[in-house]
Assembly symmetry: C2
Homo-oligomer: 252 residues x 2
Amino acid sequence: MISIQTIKRIKSLQQKKFREEEHCFVAETPKIVEEILNSSAYSVETVYGLKAWIDANWKRFARHTLEEVSPKELERISGLQTPNQVLAVVKKNDSLLDLGTIFSDMCLMLDDIRDPGNLGTILRIADWFGIKHVVCSNESVEYTNPKCIQASMGSFLRVSVYYGDLAQFLSDKKTDTPIYGTFMEGESIYQTELNPKACIVIGNEAHGISKPLEPLITKKIHIPSFSNEKNHAESLNASVATAILCSEFKRR
Amino acid sequence: MISIQTIKRIKSLQQKKFREEEHCFVAETPKIVEEILNSSAYSVETVYGLKAWIDANWKRFARHTLEEVSPKELERISGLQTPNQVLAVVKKNDSLLDLGTIFSDMCLMLDDIRDPGNLGTILRIADWFGIKHVVCSNESVEYTNPKCIQASMGSFLRVSVYYGDLAQFLSDKKTDTPIYGTFMEGESIYQTELNPKACIVIGNEAHGISKPLEPLITKKIHIPSFSNEKNHAESLNASVATAILCSEFKRR
């Protein structure tokens, strides 16, 4: 049995304010919790699992604090519509930004991505395409948002996420790494040279790349539409655009 | 002022059962409602708008039944966390499937896509890449699910969505259209021939392409990962994979 206080505390971690205060976040479902426990990237504070999950897993993760909860209790602490066997409270781990490392390989810069599902999906895409660093503007949603953790499907364990002032980072960089960004008037990605040692800036869901960043983009690109209709989708979702860009940069 | 009965009825359309009974669905936000009103694809039953929205729009859409609602009332009928000015009740419109037309150009077949956000995003991708037909298995989520309507950003107006037995459709087809599907053991999409007059089958989020469909796939393909880690994302999200496939088929 867990106390009402514990239930309240875990539920409070659905909110940014309390995640920041406690320096903790929650992750759910067997797949994601098991990946965290197997990884050395994050340390787990407590794992709350149903009896069946604990019976099957306690030997593998004996070093962690496991607490058995009833299905009713799991429902009360879970942020999911359909709670699934296990929830972990995980200690936050702020990655330290090293500009040299970041610009030595392909990286993504997210200029004010607000939707946690988009950020999680972008981390999963980065992981798939072997991109190790994702740099977010300070206004971007936190990667510890539960919806982001769930959408990333564990990829937040393998991709380092940093926060900061993107304009500052781009001004401070000492390499000649090209900075790509998508704009309506950009060159078609299918017809322009794409350097895989690049930094790709992904704009906000509604407003695209912000004005202060625009002059720091060294190459404006564009994913062309193949529709013949004059009325067609105005844009692609931010994570979908990221996927198409990563595929196009990496395949060459 | 709208009656409690009206409020209840509109809220009930958040559920599949009532959408089927009433043959109606809801769409929200100025962007999407205005696109519906401008389109001839669907007819609108009633538009519920805040005073400011109605004042700005009534002349353009005089033929429709407009009802003014207060912000409080909009909150009560809306399915969104942040209601946005206007909600429309729209009459459903079942597309009739014509196999000849579908297989004469590139089409997508969705084998049991369950997440409405994924389906909406896939419709937006299809719209962007000029794909006019999306055929869903009977077990797929309905495109009239409010989350799908919102995620599609109006693209459901330009892409015809059909439902039916995919195995039957593929067995009945009389053309030699190649049927592509993604499998772990498939050929890399970057290294194989891709015929743009194709049918691309997208599998379920968790289980991929179902067993009964597998023998009907004429070409197994795969989006390769570029990660050097032995542990990396196991898969891509269904809509992200669709985007990469469409980009690769269309760019050639």
